[in-house]
Symmetry: C2
């Protein structure tokens, strides 16, 4: 499975989140041979749960795994420090990112710590977040811990 195919799964999750009235960020965790282990999307609005960023939702959906070194975390947006910390702690081996134009998290830090990072600059991801942030700046700031 190529990064371009993997990101489609995360984009579908982001669109689901948007359709639910949520923040349009999606993610998926794949095994090295392209098997989908779990996917998810940001659920701050839908479940009133600030701990469910897209990456943590996908990680949760994948259930308990004994070894993440050969897995690939795919996310529509550069992972924030919370989600970057997840990737580092669990030794997730690779990261595919839809875009980092609307937000830059910890992906360079992860690359420095040995994670294989593939930044796609996917126009669909950029457009979804650009539109969402313009329409909902307060919600977006809440989601990334930016106080008023």
């Amino acid at each position: 499975m190529t990064p371009a195919e993997m990101i489609d799964v995360a984009v579908d999750e982001a669109r689901k989140g948007l359709a639910e009235g949520g923040i349009p960020i999606g993610a998926a965790l794949f095994s090295s041979d392209g098997m989908l282990l779990g996917s998810g999307h940001n659920r701050r609005v839908q479940q009133g749960d600030p701990s469910l960023h897209a990456e943590t939702d996908a990680f949760r959906a994948a259930g308990r795994q004994r070894d993440y070194r050969s897995t690939v975390m795919v996310t529509t947006l550069s992972p924030c420090w919370y989600c970057s910390g997840l990737v580092r702690q669990f030794n997730i081996g690779a990261l595919v990112i839809g875009e980092s134009r609307t937000f830059v998290g910890g992906h360079d830090w992860l690359a420095d710590h040995g994670v294989e990072v593939n930044l796609l600059d996917d126009e669909r991801c950029v457009a979804m977040m650009t539109d969402f942030i313009a329409a909902n700046p307060e919600l977006w700031n809440e989601d990334i811990g930016v106080a008023e």
Copy 2:
């Protein structure tokens, strides 16, 4: 409320987790004036959910908050990178840690980024984790992403 009083809440959560057959790590999020916003404990075993570390469970229990700068995250154990990333991303202002003898996470990194860190070296926390790790090394390694 003093750090010693705050850590008691996290220790109680860790004990609850242990009684449930889980990993004995507890946490609590307090406002600056000592109001408990949420508390929780590691639920990997109980709910089969690897995303619920003690700190993320407490953060989740506190619900949506608009500004974390004056809050205090209290945890029985030095926070792993996942939970350290949470503290950094949401600009949680202060961290009270029960102990860092059995595991060292990202608390120095957080201090470097302006978080007020108070490391207590609480004997109850050390004893709980020492005993748990000795009895359940595989489960502990799974929880911190250490592969076999």
